[in-house]
């Protein structure tokens, strides 16, 4: 009997202990991301920093593969009711997740509900509205934000006796000299992102109807005018004259020849900065993405690429509060500055940018500032971004047609006609899936 009593009291004590620890335990939140390699390590550092900074919440980052795989995993988990609190979704997937009404809680709401101050003006220009809805409410919290810039091999330009070009007209003048000096003058790593989406922004040109798609997916169609067609005719001409190198759709395949010193100038992401500085053995620098001076109103800023963090719906208030407090931590100037320095992605708030400036970071590494300066160039009507569904496939269509164009299987006119036809069909299909 005595024995039984002892056991019973132990059980009771254990149960009490259990409840008491539960009530003091940190709330767990999960963060699914697509940051591999060095970037993944920095993500873990951020999570550890947050967990160490407070006791109420505990965040666990989980690496889910590529951007596409992460989005697909998040969607599958949502359908099974097992979604993470925070899901990282890339630029091309933004319309999918924002279009699914009820899948996410807007970042702005989650911060305001938790009583954390939010002012969209705190965020730098090119970042501010990319993941916002048509009313300007921020839906996704911009995370790793980058923009296409021009990297150049300082030795190569010196050898050819030229300066880095500001415009494509200037490029056409200096390219033959670089070729003579034994270099492929130019390469780029992402034709849809750099020569299509950001081409539109850099020249302040409309990309799609319905306010670039922000006003709803119904009847949104792609808009391709003369400037972009002329640009691709010029690029094809450069390729044929040996002034431009095209190495396929893969990002790395196009960056490698620049890293090896064969290509003099390369258009890539401002987020590539950290990687290049660790790889190349020649002095390099960077400048803005060139534009065509001949296009009226050109020279406007670009918008961000990369990805944002979305707070998934269907979670408890406690967990949502933790998400808000994590977002607050993430956007603090110290964390943003650390992220900027470690990875090359731009800081997303003005305060973090000021901190980097004050710290003298750009005096020692001026090239690291190019991305953020380009994002804060004066904007225009068409520079805040785009919002189109099934955009992953639309980019695939672009890559296919551009690839055909580069290998001479199609013409500029036919390529854009096909992109418009296939792209608009995808947009129409997407509009039907969401019914808005």
């Amino acid at each position: 009997m005595a024995y039984r009593k002892t056991v019973a009291s132990f059980v009771a004590a254990a149960a009490l202990l259990g409840t008491s620890t539960a009530s003091y335990a940190a709330t767990d939140i999960a963060w699914w991301h697509a940051m591999g390699g060095r970037l993944g390590e920095v993500v873990v550092d951020i999570a550890n920093g947050y967990n160490a900074a407070q006791d109420a919440c505990k965040i666990t980052p989980v690496f889910k593969g590529t951007y596409e795989e992460t989005l697909t995993a998040g969607i599958a988990a949502f359908r099974a009711g097992e979604q993470p609190n925070i899901l990282q979704v890339f630029d091309a997937g933004a319309a999918t997740i924002i279009g699914a009404k009820g899948a996410v809680i807007p970042a702005q709401d989650i911060l305001e509900n938790a009583g954390v101050g939010f002012d969209i003006e705190d965020y730098i220009d090119g970042v501010r509205y990319f993941y916002a809805d048509s009313d300007g409410k921020m839906i996704g919290m911009p995370f790793n934000s980058s923009t296409p810039i021009l990297y150049y091999n300082v030795d190569a330009l010196k050898k050819a006796g030229v300066e880095a070009p500001k415009t494509w007209e200037e490029f056409q003048e200096i390219a033959p000299k670089l070729k003579e000096a034994g270099y492929v003058p130019l390469a780029q790593s992402h034709l849809p992102w750099i020569f299509t989406e950001n081409f539109k922004s850099r020249h302040n040109l409309q990309f799609a109807t319905n306010n670039n798609g922000y006003d709803g997916s119904k009847d949104t169609t792609l808009v391709f005018g003369e400037p972009i067609k002329n640009h691709f005719s010029a690029v094809k001409g450069w390729l044929d004259d040996g002034l431009f190198g095209y190495y396929g759709t893969g990002w790395g395949d196009n960056q490698t020849p620049f890293n090896e010193g064969k290509v003099a100038m390369w258009l890539g992401s401002s987020g590539s900065f950290g990687g290049i500085s660790k790889t190349v053995d020649f002095p390099f620098s960077a400048t803005y993405l060139p534009y065509w001076d001949a296009v009226d109103g050109a020279g406007t800023g670009t918008f961000i690429g990369g990805a944002a963090l979305f707070s998934m719906a269907g979670k408890s208030d406690d967990e949502n509060k933790c998400v808000a407090s994590f977002f607050e931590y993430l956007t603090s100037p110290e964390v943003q500055y650390m992220w900027h320095k470690e990875t090359g992605y731009v800081p997303i708030t003005n305060a973090a940018y000021d901190m980097a400036k004050k710290d003298g970071y750009y005096e020692s590494t001026p090239a690291a500032e190019i991305g953020i300066k380009q994002l804060t160039l004066p904007g225009g009507e068409w520079t805040k971004g785009y919002r189109m569904g099934f955009y992953v496939q639309i980019r695939d269509v672009m890559n296919r047609e551009y690839g055909k164009l580069m290998s001479g299987e199609t013409t500029v006119e036919d390529a854009f006609a096909t992109i418009e036809a296939d792209g608009n069909k995808l947009l129409e299909r997407f509009s039907k899936t969401t019914g808005n």
Partner: protein
Amino acid sequence: MVPYMLLLPQLAIVTIFFLWPAAEAIQSSFYLEDPFGFGSTFVGLDNFTDMLTSTDYGRVARFTAVFTFFVTFLSLGFALLLAVKADKVLRGASTYKTLLMWVYAVAPPVAGLIGVLLFDQHVGPMVDLFAMFGWKMQIGVNYFDTSFAMIVTAVWKQIPVNFIFFLSGLQGISKSVQEAASIDCRSGFRRFWTVTFPLLAPTGFFLLIINITYAFFDTFGIVDVIVKNEPGNNPVTLVYKVYLDGFRGNDLGGSSAQSVILMALVFILTIIQFRLIERRVHYT
């Protein structure tokens, strides 16, 4: 009742893993579905017409046909040649056989990775080799070059399986038949085509089906690694396109419609094979 009970586990597996997903695929091929599952709209045959009228689908289907033909034909041909030669080796036979078979253990994505390394446009040794003959290969840029690399990798990966089967098939042919044949005919070449080859037909027929299925479905890993998850202007197979649209692009309806077509295709292929070809195969 007992026989049915004994069949039950097998039937359950078939139902859960094959029939149910197939039914789901057929159903969702008639709907346009929001990826998050908030709603779906019945669109009738729209998914099928959209797919068949898209500029890309025909190109992918044509490539799949060409790819399947070359992979099947070349991997069967090379394997048969190697098996016939290995069958005649007397000394160190097991070493030869092991050397020819080990590739079988390589997983398709790893095979694809080896292919990528060999054919890389910047550092690939195969590219350097072909450059000596004046062929400037550009995998990922040139459609033909990329197809070539894919076919070579897929064939290389498949030869060992065929080799093992052909070799055991050859060893199963009775010595007395072969001896009788060699009395009748002195030409080894003719003996092979008139005696050995017909006797190998059951093995060959089985391998033909296995290889077509391999080229259609199992080469997924190789295609994925060679195109580096970026289809671009590269050749892809029908199965890979199902993945691209469904899992990369979150177009569930369109992707389901494609898998339904693929299912029908395999169904027809199997019927043709068993109805027409099998009649000409003699099982001894």
